[in-house]
């Protein structure tokens, strides 16, 4: 029986080999590894980096590459550890503080990131450092400083599409048709950028046209941008929707009638179910303002635990659909519950109810209801036209929400989503509260009271002033939740109605 190595690494012996030959070999390997990292070939680079570190455990260059690779894969803990080791070994190594700062931003430790990045960038200006700093300020709600940092990044590399996009989309409002940004964008677009950069530029253009009220040209840019993004992320059409249908058929009514799985006994977890841009962040913020509730935002831990570790035998001839891991690692539902609750309590300060919102929760509801027999679900629903337009107009981070870049596909996805939610309502009676975004916007108090009743908590006035709560928000809705509730996004789709025929068609039964 082989014992699992969670990191998937082969054990390497760290030898303190100071031999010159080994050093020369390490140097040669470093050049190769660096080449791979520069070309973003991390998987090829990783074993070479490990080899260098075996030959020469304190090879600063290799350590830096390892940190960058870990950072790219989201293992901020390892990345931070290595970066700090570099700093211990060579406190004056250029860029090490900027590296640490960037990792801290990725780890969402914004205040620490700011105190690390500010002095480091003063000594050594670096565009990626400034954009990370801008991100940190932005999520901390300090817009002017975010804007200033981004400007400094753009001063170093004026043509970086991502920075222009961030600047125009979140920090700068265009007011005139002859704003120089239009010319800049058109020029960069004409230089045949990559798909990803083309997406950034067109989304920026979309925002700029929208700012000046030119909705036709805004939409035209949006369509080009969405198309480029879809190509850049290699989205596989229908994949997710088929998966959602598989999930629905596995977790059938019959399944729930016949299962007796022992879960983890707690009433703390509350999961928000909804599509992107349906108001999940708003709902979470209202609840987070309550003294007995802690919102832990958009987290991936449950997704990781379920796709990596969960397994059930086939049921009624259908295979268990949620497992994605090839590692073979496995945990029974109760153990997943224990690990996840530990994470939740650490993040959510052991509040009476801990609210987690993730677009993926709608996929896990069948399984998470078994893992946590005491968990509650709040499904937030929004007018499909408004929600779908808002999805379409958003350039989500990375490859997430790939179905939002094509109107017809988006409509199909919405219908699949609705079927799935209706199914969860059928098989988990009494455990899901359905709320409408429009109702929350119209009468927050009534809806908040209803939700708190469902959560078995007393009323608290602070829920109505949620925007005063001090907390960083890192979702696409970051800007909205820092303001009192507004209803100007209700019915926004009408401005674009004539362009939305494919969506309207797809939404028809």
């Amino acid at each position: 029986m082989t014992y699992l190595n969670l990191s998937g690494q082969t054990p390497t012996q760290h030898m303190m080999d100071q031999d010159a030959h080994a050093k020369a070999e390490a140097g040669r390997l470093y050049d190769i590894a660096k080449g791979h990292i520069d070309r973003e070939e991390y998987k090829t680079a990783n074993p070479i980096i490990e080899n260098i570190l075996t030959l020469h455990p304190t090879h600063i260059g290799a350590m830096e590459l390892k940190a960058i690779s870990a950072y790219t894969f989201g293992d901020t803990e390892t990345a931070l550890y290595i970066a700090r080791e570099i700093k211990k070994l060579q406190p004056l190594y250029p860029g090490v503080d900027i590296l640490i700062g960037r990792i801290l931003v990725k780890a969402e430790q914004y205040p620490e990131a700011v105190t690390t990045l500010e002095p480091a960038l003063a000594k050594q200006p670096y565009d990626e450092g400034f954009s990370a700093l801008s991100r940190a300020y932005f999520y901390l709600g300090q817009k002017p400083k975010a804007e200033e940092s981004l400007r400094r990044a753009m001063a170093i590399t004026p043509d970086k599409a991502e920075h222009i996009y961030m600047y125009l989309s979140y920090l700068y409002q265009v007011t005139e048709t002859n704003d120089p940004h239009f010319a800049r964008l058109h020029k960069l677009i004409s230089e045949s950028p990559t798909d990803m950069n083309s997406a950034y530029l067109h989304y920026a253009l979309f925002k700029a046209f929208q700012d000046i009220g030119d909705y036709d040209r805004a939409f035209e840019s949006l369509q080009v941008g969405a198309h480029a993004k879809r190509k850049a992320i290699h989205h596989q059409s229908g994949h997710l929707e088929r998966w959602m249908d598989d999930i629905r058929t596995y977790f059938s009514a019959d399944f729930f009638e016949n299962q007796h799985i022992q879960g983890y006994d707690t009433e703390q977890p509350v999961f928000i179910l909804g599509m992107p841009r349906s108001g999940t962040t708003l709902l979470e913020q209202i609840l987070h303002a309550h003294p007995d509730i802690s919102g832990i935002g958009e987290e991936r831990r449950l997704s990781e635990l379920i796709t990596e570790f969960s397994s059930l035998p086939e049921y009624d001839g259908k295979p268990y659909p949620l497992r994605r891991s090839r590692s073979g690692a496995y945990l029974p539902p109760q153990a997943i519950g224990r690990e996840y609750m530990h994470f939740m309590n650490k993040t959510g300060n052991s509040a009476k109810r801990i609210v987690s919102k993730s677009i993926a929760h709608r996929l896990w509801a069948g399984m998470s209801s078994l893992i946590f027999p005491g968990a509650r679900y709040i499904h937030i629903h929004r007018d499909p036209m408004d929600m779908c337009l808002s999805c379409f107009a958003t350039n989500f981070t990375g490859a997430a929400q790939g179905y939002t870049y094509d109107l017809a596909e988006l409509g199909t996805h919405y219908k699949t989503h609705t079927r799935l939610i209706a199914h969860w309502n059928d098989v988990l009676p009494g455990r899901i509260l359905n709320v409408r975004y429009e109702d929350i916007v119209k009468d927050t108090e009534t809806q908040a009271r209803r939700i708190l009743g469902f959560l078995n908590l007393p009323w608290d006035d602070r829920c109505l002033e949620f925007y005063k709560a001090e907390k960083s928000v890192s979702t696409a809705s970051v800007d909205q939740v820092r303001q009192p509730i507004y209803d100007r996004s209700v019915g926004r789709w009408k401005k674009y109605e004539k362009h939305l025929a494919p969506l309207i068609e797809a939404l028809k039964e």
């Binding site: 029986m1 190595n5 990191s7 690494q9 293992d75 035998p313 073979g328």
Partner: protein, 576 residues
């Protein structure tokens, strides 16, 4: 006092490392058999990620390989976290736990009571005020709840503590609601051991005085002596919706699980008829008490989604093997049959809780297996056939259920390996101990009172000695056939079977065998094994656990079995 194995400084520096680095270091140290530092690394990981099951798995792997030679509070804290893990057998920590209990300055007052010469001496020495901090220590409580501590001095200590608690409860002056965590833990200890320790007549009197009381303290104290399931006040309390904490845990074992099993029992299908007189007697014997009682088990760190194949467990008992195998091979279909509905109900409840839908259970007699038409890639029948009046008849039935190319995992008692047991059975026959809880308790008390050098007392080295139903199976079984290797050869011949190797062998034993018989690298020559067992008579003290198949089918395993075998999960003879 021996030296500590770890310096606080070393542990502190380990705790700064990121998780992946700790895992890497653990794997490296463990693969180089550096078990002590590996255990330190695992403890550091557990301290950092207290809820991470795989960290606890690593700690459990390493702790079995080390001898705890000193006390360190971090070990204690790490083990407390490991006791909460759900996918390991907590029992692995027993020796480390006992050692830490011995070395921990906090527990000196409690452990010193082990030196009491008798009950009176114990009563003279015990002082509740100094003992209370010891018994309220979660490390102590979790240990007695989770470990099935198999140690005579410790059993004596807890038995005397139990008597003290009962007496103190009667006088009403000492115990308060704050002591409930301890009382519940003590109660869980005796429940798990099925009240194997003897109680004095004065205790029996005192118990009858509290048998109708319904407060939590009385329930917990009563639970130290009796299964609470039949008591109406316990049933009532168990169904209380506001129940929480330790008393809830206690009553879930005593009452809720039992109720559920009683419900399940009503719906267990009967696969075959049961006509044979011995089969009926054996069924009756297991009906009172599901055997063997188990809670957690080591869930393998990886699972094997091999395509569907069929496994039969003939005599599944409480189905630990069934559930573990079902979880490890999620696509494999496993049928468990047993004579005892109580044991099956225990298995069904356990399988349900973890979602092992790929299991099917039925009551049935191995002698009537020909009444079912299904055939299997693998049939497991461990420690079952030797309890039949005519094991050959059972064997024939089991072989009849094999698919072409199917394999059997069989385990049978060894005459040589069970010599000390045979002596115990003689003692039982001579003294006329009955197969009742009283008879078994009396037998245990007799063994415990023997001087340590008495060969009969060797039986107390076996874990089975420490709970009633396991003790019953160990020495009191109404029907038992023992085999020699010669018998095995004849048995296999009679049924046209080929021997494919012994299972679950320690590496050291394999190396010894190979050094003696280098011309038998596959280790399948039973003539060699016969000589080997003569030379090392305790080799099969547990049982002869072996694999066999129909003659001429050695090289043509059924497709289903070949897939299972390819995972190398089961140790089948020697893998070359």
């Amino acid at each position: 006092m021996l030296t500590q194995t770890i310096s606080p400084l070393a542990m502190a520096s380990l705790q700064d490392l990121p998780g992946n680095e700790l895992v890497r270091r653990f794997n490296d140290l463990f693969s180089r058999s550096q078990f002590e530092p590996a255990f330190d690394v695992a403890c550091a990981e557990v301290m950092r990620y207290p809820a991470l099951e795989y960290a606890a798995k690593r700690a459990a792997l390493a702790v079995q390989k080390i001898e705890m030679r000193g006390f360190h509070p971090l070990y204690k804290q790490a083990i407390v976290h490991c006791f909460q893990a759900l996918t390991i057998e907590h029992r692995h920590f027993m020796f480390a736990w006992l050692a830490l209990m011995t070395f921990d300055p906090l527990h000196r007052p409690l452990m010193n009571l082990m030196d009491a010469e008798d009950e009176n001496d114990f009563d003279r020495k015990i002082d509740w005020k100094t003992i209370r901090p010891c018994v309220m220590d979660p490390f102590f409580q979790l240990g007695i709840r989770k470990l099935m501590v198999a140690d005579i001095p410790f059993e004596l200590l807890l038995t005397r503590l139990r008597r003290f608690v009962l007496t103190a409860h009667k006088t009403g002056s000492i115990l308060t609601a704050d002591d409930l965590p301890f009382l519940c833990a003590l109660s869980e200890y005796f429940y798990e051991h099925e009240y194997a320790a003897i109680e004095t007549p004065s205790e029996t009197d005192l118990i009858s005085g509290i048998s109708e009381k319904s407060d939590d303290i009385s329930l917990a104290v009563l639970g130290c002596y009796r299964l609470l399931h039949p008591y109406p006040q316990a049933q009532k309390r168990a169904l209380d919706k506001n129940l929480s904490g330790d008393i809830k845990t206690l009553l879930s074992f005593h009452v809720i699980d039992r109720n559920e099993e009683a419900d399940i029992k009503k719906n267990i299908p009967a696969l075959t008829t049961i006509d044979d007189a011995i089969s009926k007697n054996v069924a009756d014997m297991y009906e009172d008490n599901p055997y063997p009682r188990w809670r957690g088990f080591d869930l393998p760190p990886v699972l094997y989604p091999v395509p569907r194949s069929e496994i039969l467990v003939a005599g599944c008992g409480t189905s630990k093997w069934v559930v573990q195998t079902a979880m490890t091979f999620p696509n494999v279909h496993i049928t468990g049959i047993d004579l005892s509905r109580s044991s099956i109900a225990y298995g069904v409840r356990s399988a349900r809780q973890v979602g092992a839908f790929n299991t099917y259970f039925a009551q049935g007699d191995i002698l009537k297996l020909d009444q079912m038409d299904k055939q299997f890639d693998l049939i497991e029948s461990s420690g079952v056939l030797h309890h039949m009046k005519d094991p050959d008849a059972g064997f024939k039935q089991v072989v009849g259920r094999l698919k072409p190319g199917g394999r059997m995992f069989i385990a049978l008692y060894s005459e040589l390996g069970r010599q000390s047991i045979v002596e115990c059975r003689k003692l039982i026959a001579e003294k006329g101990f009955s197969i009742t809880p009283e008879g078994m308790r009396q037998f245990r008390a007799d063994i415990i009172s023997l001087p340590d050098e008495d060969p009969l007392k060797q039986i107390a080295m076996r874990r089975d000695f420490f709970s009633l139903s396991e003790c019953r199976d160990l020495v009191f079984h109404i029907q038992e056939t023992r085999y020699t290797i010669e018998d095995l050869k004849n048995l296999l011949n009679r049924h046209n079977l080929t021997f494919l190797g012994f299972r679950e062998q320690a590496k050291a034993l394999q190396e010894k065998y190979i050094s003696l018989y280098p011309d038998d690298p596959r280790m399948t020559n039973l003539d060699n094994w016969e000589k080997f067992e003569q030379a090392f008579p305790l080799t099969f003290a547990n049982m002869y656990q072996f694999v066999c198949c129909r003659r001429e089918e050695e090289n043509t395993p059924s497709e289903g079995f070949a897939q299972i075998d390819a995972c190398k999960f089961f140790s089948i003879g020697r893998t070359i």
